[in-house]
């Protein structure tokens, strides 16, 4: 109960600060969230330079549209939702610039295409298992990668994930299960002689 009240106070404070364009509050939010924001965008785009650029764009959007944050839910899902929309638009423009074929209309379809760019995941892997997963993550559709990150690294609830992804929770869970299945096979194949 106390924790809830504290959380409410915190989000209300953020909402007020964003409405008033309080630079101190923004600096504090950047300090707290920038690292996670870049990580999320990295999972989404698969490219470090895109992630850094998009993170900056996201903060500018937060500054411009801060009054739209109502303070009733946590700040992080709202931030990730902004970053996601920007990333999709950015990837759409990028691919439009190089592709001559027509693009899918569905916004999420942009994220279904696996990235062919070099992976930042291997550089970030801190264990043998993570290293094994890195190869899979690289070829995993970003849509699934994103779902796995939000659930198992950001520890968002399914409802919060649904808010970020703009999809029903059934779709969210299905993406997590599919992502897990794809990654699990990295171990299944590697250890097949042992099972």
């Amino acid at each position: 109960m106390t924790l809830n009240t504290t959380a409410e106070t915190e989000t209300a404070k953020i909402a007020r600060g964003l409405r008033e364009r309080d630079m101190e509050l923004l600096a504090d939010l950047v300090e707290r969230c920038q690292h996670r924001l870049v990580r999320y965008l990295l999972y989404l785009t698969g490219r470090r330079e895109y992630a850094e650029d998009l993170a900056q764009e996201t903060w500018i959007r937060v500054l411009q549209r801060g009054s739209q944050y109502n303070g009733r839910q946590r700040f992080d899902p709202w931030l990730f939702a902004i970053a996601r929309n920007l990333a999709i638009d950015y990837l759409r423009k990028k691919r439009k610039a190089v592709a001559t074929v027509s693009l899918p209309n569905d916004r999420d379809a942009m994220l279904l295409l696996p990235s062919s760019d070099p992976s930042p995941f291997e550089a970030a892997a801190r264990s043998e298992d993570a290293m094994r997963l890195a190869g899979r993550l690289q070829i995993l559709p970003p849509l699934y990668r994103e779902a796995l990150l939000l659930r198992f690294q950001e520890d968002l609830s399914l409802a919060e994930m649904a808010q970020v992804l703009g999809a029903p929770t059934t779709t969210v869970t299905s993406r997590i299960y599919r992502g897990l299945a794809a990654l699990r096979s990295a171990f299944e194949e590697g250890d097949s002689h042992g099972g």
């Binding site: 364009r21 690292h35 897990l180």
Partner: protein, 152 residues
């Protein structure tokens, strides 16, 4: 085999969603006798553990850069806001000047006969003593420097 599929779905669910204590016990009882599902559970746990073992380091000056960009944008937005206020004030002052002059002209026309003025004199009077001064005041809003401009 169909039973295993059901249990594996339950295992997945236990990692992603809330499962009841009864369902958890069911998994526990099942994996005691089923090596396939036991391995499935271990691999799923290992996969999730592995996912938590990625550490992305951000650029050292990334936060400072973002703060700088935000400060710059805040200043730009503040300036745009001031400009908008200035033009809004000018528009309001200009309309008041025109509407006010029209009203004054109507009143002055009524006084033409008792005061023995002709229409041209009234028009000149309104132009020189009302319309031009009020129009100049409106223009001054645009010319005033920085913070002193506009309604604010």
């Amino acid at each position: 085999m169909e039973g295993d599929k059901r249990f594996r779905e339950l295992i997945d669910r236990s990692f992603v969603e809330e499962v009841s204590e009864g369902e958890r016990q069911l998994i526990h009882d099942h994996i005691r006798d089923c090596d396939g599902c036991k391995r499935y559970l271990e691999l799923t746990a290992r996969t999730i553990r592995g996912l938590r073992e990625f550490t992305f380091t951000s650029e050292p000056d990334s936060n400072a850069q973002v703060r700088e960009i935000l400060a710059h944008h805040t200043e730009t937005m503040r300036q745009h806001n001031v400009q908008f206020k200035v033009w809004a004030a000018f528009a309001v002052a200009l309309s008041m000047s025109i509407v006010g002059s029209a009203l004054v002209y109507q009143v002055a026309k009524l006084l033409t006969v008792p005061m023995h003025f002709d229409t041209a004199q009234v028009q000149a009077g309104v132009l020189v003593f009302w319309l031009l001064p009020s129009f100049c005041s409106a223009l001054r809003l645009l010319a005033a420097p920085g913070e002193n401009r506009g309604i604010a």
